[in-house]
């Protein structure tokens, strides 16, 4: 069965798995995990340079063919997200930005309203904007209007590995929003990524699960396979779940036609 590529803002990708680059134990693991994951889009963040500790530049470890998606982590409102996005663009590393506006340190939930504001401003400036939100139909519709390139609803809390706790709400977005829906945050296992893809998500983003696995490279590969499997299952037209049994074998008795005779 052939699949159409994932298209974001006119750019085609054959992989439907996006990998985050945070929390890796070392840069070599990061590079090998990106390759094993087959990801063509990876997220990075922007921070002040530590003047005491001269750290290695992370971009040296990201394969050149990969599209960089800078997140606006650290932004507490739209204005700060816009500032971070503009700084990222000034680096000359592209204009793809994942809007992430968070002002709650306990649950790290995104502020949808501020995210919409930032999306509006940055899309008007020509950025390719991938906003990260709590799955909400009205917020998603506002993002479409604001010029978002995708909508990225959270599966569960960032870094929680809890999977698709917001499953039904993500399904609403998949059904109703005419943009790629990329499930982000909380995806802790390949099975959860496959589940999102089976639902019809356009792609899945994971970071913590891979970066903190005992063998990140192997898990990155497992995620790639799971996302492909889930996508194929979706395209195959999965049968609906039933609340009553339906026999897989012929419904006659083994030797006699009447089942009750057994």
């Amino acid at each position: 069965m052939t699949d159409s590529p994932l298209v974001i803002a006119g750019k085609s990708f054959s992989s439907r798995f996006l990998l985050g680059t945070g929390k890796f134990k070392n840069k070599q693991d990061l590079r090998d995990s990106i390759i094993a994951s087959k990801s063509e889009i990876v997220t990075v963040a922007l921070r002040r340079i530590d003047l005491e500790r001269h750290e290695e530049n992370i971009l040296e470890y990201i394969p050149k063919h990969v599209t960089l998606l800078t997140n606006t982590s650290g932004a507490r409102n739209a204005q700060e997200a816009v500032r971070i996005a503009r700084l990222a663009k000034a680096s000359g590393c592209g204009n793809w930005v994942k809007i992430e506006v968070i002002n709650d340190s306990k649950y790290l939930l995104p502020d949808n309203q501020e995210t919409i504001k930032a999306t509006e401003i940055l899309a008007a400036e020509g950025f390719i904007v991938l906003p990260y939100i709590s799955p909400d139909l009205y917020a998603a519709r506002a993002l479409v209007k604001a010029g978002a390139a995708t909508v990225m609803p959270l599966g569960s809390f960032i870094g929680s590995n809890l999977g698709l706790k917001t499953r039904e709400f993500i399904q609403v977005l998949i059904n109703e929003i005419d943009l790629p829906i990329i499930v982000d945050a909380g995806i802790g296992a390949p099975s959860q990524a496959a589940e999102a893809m089976e639902m019809g998500a356009a792609a899945v983003l994971a970071n913590t699960a891979v970066a903190t696995a005992q063998n990140p490279v192997a898990l990155a590969h497992a995620f790639a396979l799971a996302v492909e499997a889930g996508r194929l299952a979706y395209l195959s037209g999965l049968p609906l779940q039933q609340s009553l049994a339906k026999a897989s074998s012929p419904l006659t008795g083994f030797l006699y036609d009447d089942v009750s005779a057994n």
Binding site: T21, R47, I49
Partner: protein, 66 residues
């Protein structure tokens, strides 16, 4: 001359431009982004951008993130 770099006060003994500053405070200049008093300064403007007393400079770059 006293300036602030990434929130930390720094003393400069002589007049310096942004190229000098980046060279002395960053391991490498690639992918370093500068914001001087809230305004982004592109790297092609670094040589002609002279630091002045009281300036607040931000030096940022890419790190891992999800």
């Amino acid at each position: 001359m006293n300036i602030t770099i990434n929130g930390t006060p720094q003393q400069l003994s002589s007049e310096k431009n942004l190229t000098d500053i980046v060279a002395s405070f960053c391991k490498q200049s690639r992918h370093v982004i500068t914001e001087l008093n809230g305004t982004i300064i592109h790297s092609d403007q670094w040589p002609q951008t002279k630091l002045q007393d009281g300036d607040a400079l931000e030096l940022v770059t890419f790190v891992g993130g999800g």
